[in-house]
Symmetry: C2
Subunit: 248 residues, 2 copies
DNA sequence: TATGAGAACTTGTACGAACAAGCCAGCGCC
DNA sequence: GGCGCTGGCTTGTTCGTACAAGTTCTCATA
């Protein structure tokens, strides 16, 4: 059973995407939406909060909500899982494990994952038959067996782990910056050494907050971009300084 | 007057940051928090929703909320305004306008800003006395006079525009990827041509959804990173494909 | 015509209640 | 000991009400 506010949010989202409510125009008042859906105003407000979080609409006290854009925001799974994102957008995609071994955790990994040993996996992912992503992932030691059981060309690691051990990636923290391609990155992605890569370092945890993996993903420039919408009072993305102060 | 739920959220945030509630531990139940603050459960839930949006805690039906992390999330202003972000984090910073002229809007700019003419501004920003950011901004034509009135070494454009014409940047859309430094970028940032840069393209609007500016900001690699926390059911950042399909 | 006060409208905050749905520990059974 | 089940606890959803606070439009006045 889908919650009522979600159905209202879905309907409003569809209307916005279909152009019923133009960008820059005002939505009907909460009272009117409540009457139209035979729901309480609080329920409508929950639905609107969903769309605000998606960046589709903006709202402020006293004035009606306005439509900000028509871009669809994907789900958490699509941000976390390359396969789910690619599939949802209709791309051909693939993946291949190139190296996989157990090793001692570095100090940083140990602090983040809470284990002394990790399973180190190097994967390359392709989009539209071109390699676009080099993924270096360290899994916590209690994940080792489940990950080693996966086939090397596993399409979606996230889905496979859910099917095999019921693991759900629930929370993620991501750090995004740019780096130059090293010799190995360059060879794997088919670019020149020193080419710009978009790097996404992430750490993922379960529902209970238990760390599962930390990963260093590098995208070939031009293949993928990250998009974020924000507003006063709701801003997901923050900026962090690099290592300026430690440089000579 | 600060809203009650905000004060509760502030108190809980402080407690988490101070380590009263350890990472991975459970928060008191909503009922207990409500009793402690003499507030309704709905009010406490609003406070918790704030912390969920900040990525500090996670929650799921049936189980108590758990503490996910201790990183503080900055405000919208700090993401949008280089100066406010740098100041809030205690960095030395500066800025300088290198070129500024009116010109016809490109087709893309015209579509985004809704004006035929734009004011094109090229700025370089420094952090800790090193140039780290090249900013190419196109302002909508109705902004021209206010921007031209700013001093070339204006520290914070956002604040100056608020003071002079009461303009508030309320909503933003950002697209983040990596590019190679061109000859001019390289000279301005003091890096080699072809070096990786972190690019943030953004478009900003007022409260009413009226577009104010669109900008192409390029950070020297290593100087700045973007951070995002997400969870199932709340994810701000999305991935977008580049121009894969249009390539030969 | 321009301006300012005010009314009407709209969103934000807060309360209280009730039920649904999921989690977990403890209990009893095999 | 191990297993499954149940009952209590906890969060999720929804309703209804009331008032606070901000916006917008109207209308009277200068």
């Amino acid at each position: 059973m889908v919650a009522r506010y979600e159905r209202i949010a879905d309907e409003l989202r569809d209307e916005i995407l279909a152009g019923v409510h133009e960008v820059g125009s005002q939505l009907p008042s909460e009272a009117e939406l409540a009457a139209r859906h035979a729901a309480a105003r609080g329920t409508v407000r929950q639905a609107l909060a969903v769309l605000v979080a998606e960046g589709l609409i903006g709202s402020r006290q006293g004035a009606r909500s306005i439509v900000l854009g028509r871009a669809r925001s994907q789900s958490f799974a699509e941000l976390h899982s390359f396969a789910q994102w690619a599939r949802a957008n209709g791309y051909r995609f693939g993946g291949q494990v190139l190296a996989q071994r157990r090793r001692r955790a570095t100090a940083a990994e140990s602090a983040r994952l809470g284990t002394e040993e990790v399973l180190d996996v190097l994967r390359v992912r392709s989009l539209e038959d071109e390699p676009v992503l080099v993924e270096r992932t360290a899994y916590a030691s209690w994940m080792t067996e489940a990950v080693e059981a996966l086939p090397p060309d596993c399409e979606s690691v996230t889905e496979a782990l859910y099917d095999s051990v019921g693991l759900v990636f629930a929370y993620g923290e991501h750090l995004i910056d740019a780096v130059a391609a090293g010799a190995r990155d360059a060879r794997l992605l088919g670019v020149r050494r020193g080419s710009p890569l978009l790097r996404q370092r992430r750490i993922t945890t379960t529902h209970e907050g238990r760390p599962v993996e930390c990963s260093d993903d590098r995208y070939r420039a031009g293949s993928v971009a990250f998009s974020v919408r924000n507003s006063i009072g709701a801003n997901p993305l923050i900026r962090q300084a690099g290592d300026l102060r430690s440089r000579p």
